[in-house]
Symmetry: D2
Subunit: 445 residues, 4 copies
């Protein structure tokens, strides 16, 4: 372990800083103290998240979709170095040979190391990567302190903090998967609270047909940060429908399992049925076959029947909805419901690192943000008039617009200040290792 | 070969019958002579399409996505036997052991032979399959003549004719692929006319933002036939946009190839780039590397630069559009343009069996129907309020609603009377062996 | 079917001719009537073997290790055309484009069509291939009649007849596999006799340590035909050992299955255990899971407990031997026993096309030839002083000397006149679709 | 790094101890001080070999054939714990959950963790594994000191030291491969001497036909240690032949590469050619494409043309031999030559960790031991009368007797006291990551 003492406290403190900084994230002058603060808070948070991990843990790559924690720590640093610092002519990189290693997928920047081989990089060591982080932070700090970043640089800087927050979530989902692969079932943290909540019967909240504004105006032309794929803000005709007031729970899902949901082809999409058969799916990814436990970032724990079910593929979410006589929502239906909801709930800052039942069951739409990403039937495509960011950063989002479905709302490991009503997460239908669950929707004739 | 004489004449005659029958396809009483006529015409057309094939040709399965011609001939017959004839208690099937072989994917009906192994069925022979067709036709004929089919049966009968028309197109795309795999490059028919047309500069036809009615009311509650996936008819807000007045031509596409389009990652979706690299794509599937010829149902022929380009994957269509500074249309934009267009053009009845340049270049939107299926950015999902057909036939369409993109408009091998403005074809983005091309779209700010 | 009438009679007649011709196979002057007779007999036998097959059957390729019957018929013809007829300058081939299709693996002759794609060649048709056979036979006949073949040509001609005999066996093993893949389980011939024999307790015949002569002198320097891999004749020290007087029977093997042989890792080679687990082997390839039937060239039939077990991989043969407290023999031990045995038994000419229990159980070593190929522990490598044939025909055998084990003795589908005591057949350890069985051996301390 | 200071010195000291202990390895009474010494020396040597590795390095698994260094350290320890300590009833293991993780392939002992997933075990940590080593050593030490091990235990103890020595070599070949996968090309040790030797023209040493004694009498019935696969000692008739007086050098092999050896199918075994084409082999595994450098345990270094070529697959060794007009030797020819040669040369104790040219070129057979393992044409099978060790340890060797070829003589990373004239190493023909080279042989007519 790289650290002693209570990292939980450090994380919480970091998050408070990050969260408040975000609110002000729209003012991008070089003298922008909130942005500098946000940068430092986000950077510190990554370090805090890595604290429970040994150098060995940080090297684990359990499948080609996942990356080692060390790589996340290095790549997010490289992002700032390459796109902010190195944008200035004459910049001498900390280690030019690392471009190849820590470039993720930016073809326009140069070649990159094959993703499935990231787990083979024992060198540079975790200590070297942490030193790399410190060096880049020091260089960035000097530029920030000297007010020596132009508008373009400040924009990339802000983008980089959001980018790093995405990787914070991935760091946690990836290490969870890696630990689950170890027959010893180690815990990422054994000090996590284990809350058990109360359940509630699903209530359906109806919405008449309406033309709604979806997305946000393009950043940075418009001051409020959003990824390019959330723009432009545009009008969509959303049909009459109803949404469940809460996500599907473990208990709901267990009834589907017990009813033979995994053995009834008529409930499944054809691709999903093929995959579930070939991989012998019987239950959600991290449910134990003892019927009561599930794997969490605190190791194996009792499953709370009232907490939102998670680690479902799109196929499982869709099959459950069909079994329940309902369907998944579209991303527009979801955004419609979330547009006026306060952003909050069980996010990373709650330090539960696991979905939880709502503390109290209100009469309104609940748990839109946090707990679990909610699968939608919307495939990930461009909004009308979509323009990718110029230059290399145009590769950030747009080139992934095929074969993926949209998930909305953030999860229990999404950093606060990162998610918003217009935020579009996306994964291929087979993906199960994210904190992905669902909320039911219904047509209203 | 199973036949002597001029099959081309037979095909044309069949098609005339089919096409006219279709117009009346909405009246479904048992005494419905148009439906009986349509049945006979469609059935005869399949036989005519098989005539140029030897028993050996009819057994070819060149990849797991394709099926042998013999299997298409048998499966379409089985569809009528299983869902119309066998719906009556006590029915004795022609050969009960064939249920396993000719069921395609209806889990609710029973187990089915693995799709990739269809090419291993030398038995039953082609002659036996043709006899099977005759037997089922004879039994169907007796029921039709005796006015002995209730409403439900008549509906399935009508559905079955559309189903068989889909397989007629697949029979041709599949045999084209199989012949292309043979180094001798045999022709399906060597008597096909080889037309060379005139080109035209692309004109953009603009459309302001509008709420449009998409799809058709659900059949059979509503009398006009449509697949369940085209329903319900519903309102969609289509943003302002422009569409090209014609599909992209071979000449247009050759410019993309010559400009290094297949070597520039920045033009491609990430999945498309990976696939094109791993499979070493350099040009459309059937283009010869001599730069001038392409493989057709008449064998290797000179490429007409003015004819619509075809046999593109979604990835190639998308990359071309990006290179051209445009984009692919949504399925709603396409349907909007097609709603008022007459259905016609270079369809199967034209007996060209290959896309052709428009005979004359009008000022209006052209070639919406026929020639090539046009890729859209819309993924294949349910319309709001979608209800699959009841029973086994609910497996026809709905269970494929993931991982596929919509194509619109029909091709040069689509039977007339099959396609319509609301028709939704769908294939996965990597698919190249269909007659798939594209039409460009543009945002209008 | 290409023929009417009783093909069985034709086959038997052909075989008689072949067999007697073989005895004289060593005299290779152009006026050599026995060789001309042998050529015609072997060629006719292939045609006879193809008679029960429709053109569709003859196109089947059920796995990449197997080839369509049509391809066997064409390739063996091409062998004579390419290596005998085309050796003369100015020769005009029947169809130059077929070189690519019917070359199997001779890199030195030119490129060849990928083996797994042989089943995609509906053209040339079976009828064209039969015509090709006739044309080449006619050209060969003219050369033979005119005494117009030099020594080298006569040697290749003789080699070609042995080559074709190998493919006769493969034609049968390959069509058996293809028919087994068809859920209808068609029979290659339904007129095959179904003999049930008597069993015998295994007797062990001991052999003291001895230096023995193994193999044959190199042909054609030495007049008696042998493949290059059987030479040179050389001395081997064979240790004291004992061999079972008969092959392992179905009944013997069923006891192994019933005793959990397929579930006990300790009986298996490591590679065999992995393969059997991953492919879920529970019994020999063609045994039905009803416990009593097996698939034969006559379709599904009752298993005779006294007949030699066959269609075993090396791994299964080895595991059985270990379970039985014995081992497999080396190829030298086998040859030692066979050196003085008469060549005969249940070969192709017996027209059983399936292993049979010995008619009567003698006191001597039995069934060395025919019934089943017997796996040995000897891997396929060169004898000391081995020289491959010169030129392209050097590719015939030598380049396969890795990763394969030797089988000895011929099977029930090996043409008479083809096998001999020194004959070395070879297949990789996982191969199961040949008529492969085993005979037990034991060390004598 | 787990240690400071000069590990090289430690290694050398350990090796001296190991080497001398080995000489006395045959006396197995509990009071056997040489065996206790040998145990301690071998155990210490493993620790010394791990010293240059960080915990991250020790977790690397670059392919499924290789294992992490940490796993080698743990598994060799588990071997002693499980087969020596736990043989006594009532033994309480250090950690019972580790049985699953550190059992390699002993089915008879219980289930084992999948080999390709060994790199996912960040826990137990390297520090825990080192502590495990210390605990087991302490327990073993107490048993040794108290003279509390019976004959059987002493035998397994001796076997365990040889087992650990095998893993010492694998630890080095595996880490070499893993470091080579890292684009930074890190060195395992940068302090290795870089010797450049003198070349010599190959001389052929002839051997007439002879009956020779091969192998060693079975241990432990016979006092001298040998693996079960080296027994029984038996007579073999070795034909007349000649062997090259030295292994093939880098310079020799470069001539083959320059002559187009990797592009000429006629030089290759069929399987080798397929593999080399599909994997695009152009040169030995670790040769740089700059033509002059190769990857070593000291990182990238200039290639010495006179040093033995290594990291060849069997296919490459065989192709080279064919190109050179020679062949590979059999294992018997090799053993015949080595029987009277002193065991010595460039072994692990030389601390070069890379093959080297002979210091001086004598007139006799040289470099039989050390430098590179020499491929032979002999496949790995049982000697006549072979008996595996009883119980679980019977799985040590026998079950791998298929699909592998024998290599002889040890390499520059083989511990002294481990290799001998009768020693049979084995790997599948495609394996390239071992220190595998070749020595040419020739038939003598």
């Amino acid at each position: 372990m790289l650290t002693l003492g209570s990292h939980a406290g450090v994380i919480l403190e970091m998050m408070r800083a990050t969260s408040s900084a975000t609110v002000e994230g729209s003012d991008l002058k070089a003298s922008d103290q909130p942005l500098a603060g946000r940068y430092r808070a986000v950077r510190g948070q990554s370090v805090a998240l890595a604290q429970p991990l040994s150098a060995e843990d940080a090297l684990l790559q359990s499948m080609s979709d996942a990356s080692p924690a060390k790589w996340h720590l290095a790549h997010t640093t490289w992002f700032f170095e390459r796109f902010v610092l190195a944008a200035r002519p004459g910049y001498v990189p900390v280690n030019a040979a690392w471009d190849l290693l820590f470039n993720s997928y930016y073809n326009s920047v140069g070649p990159f190391h094959a993703r499935p081989d990231r787990g083979l990089l024992s060198r540079p060591s975790l200590a070297e990567v942490m030193a790399y982080r410190a060096q880049v932070d020091e260089r960035m700090g000097r530029r920030l302190d000297a007010d020596d970043l132009d508008d373009a640089a400040m924009q990339v800087l802000l983008l980089g903090t959001h980018h790093e927050q995405q990787h914070q979530e991935l760091l946690l989902t990836d290490i969870k998967h890696a630990f689950w692969c170890n027959p010893l079932g180690p815990a990422y943290r054994s000090d996590l609270a284990h809350c058990v909540g109360e359940g509630s019967k699903v209530r359906w909240l109806a919405q008449p047909e309406a033309i709604v504004e979806i997305g946000l105006p393009a950043w940075p032309q418009s001051p409020r940060f959003a990824y390019d794929n959330e723009s432009p803000r545009h009008r969509v005709l959303v049909p009459a429908h109803a949404l469940a007031h809460r996500p599907v729970s473990n208990g709901d899902y267990a009834a589907f399992v017990d009813d033979g949901g995994y053995r009834d082809a008529s409930l499944w999409l054809s691709d999903g049925w093929s995959l579930s058969q070939s991989q012998n799916w019987q239950r959600p990814l991290y449910w134990h076959d003892d019927g009561t436990r599930e794997f969490t970032l605190a190791g194996w724990r009792e499953r709370d029947p009232h907490a939102p079910v998670c680690h479902l593929s799109y196929y499982e979410a869709d099959a459950f909805a069909r079994w329940a006589g309902a369907r998944l929502p579209t991303e527009f239906e979801w955004e419609c419901a979330a547009a006026s909801a306060p952003i909050g709930g069980n996010l990373l800052s709650g330090d539960a690192l696991h979905p939880q039942a709502a503390a109290r069951s209100g009469v309104d739409m609940g748990q839109l943000f946090g707990d679990v990403w909610e699968w939608t039937t919307s495939s990930y495509t461009a909004y009308p008039g979509f323009q990718p960011l110029p230059g290399s950063l145009g590769e950030y989002n747009g080139k992934f617009m095929s074969g993926q479905n949209i998930l909305r709302g953030g999860s229990c490991v999404t950093p606060p200040g990162h998610v918003r009503a217009s935020y579009r997460n996306f994964f291929p239908p087979p993906a199960r290792w994210q904190f992905s669950g669902l909320r039911l929707a219904k047509d209203i004739p």
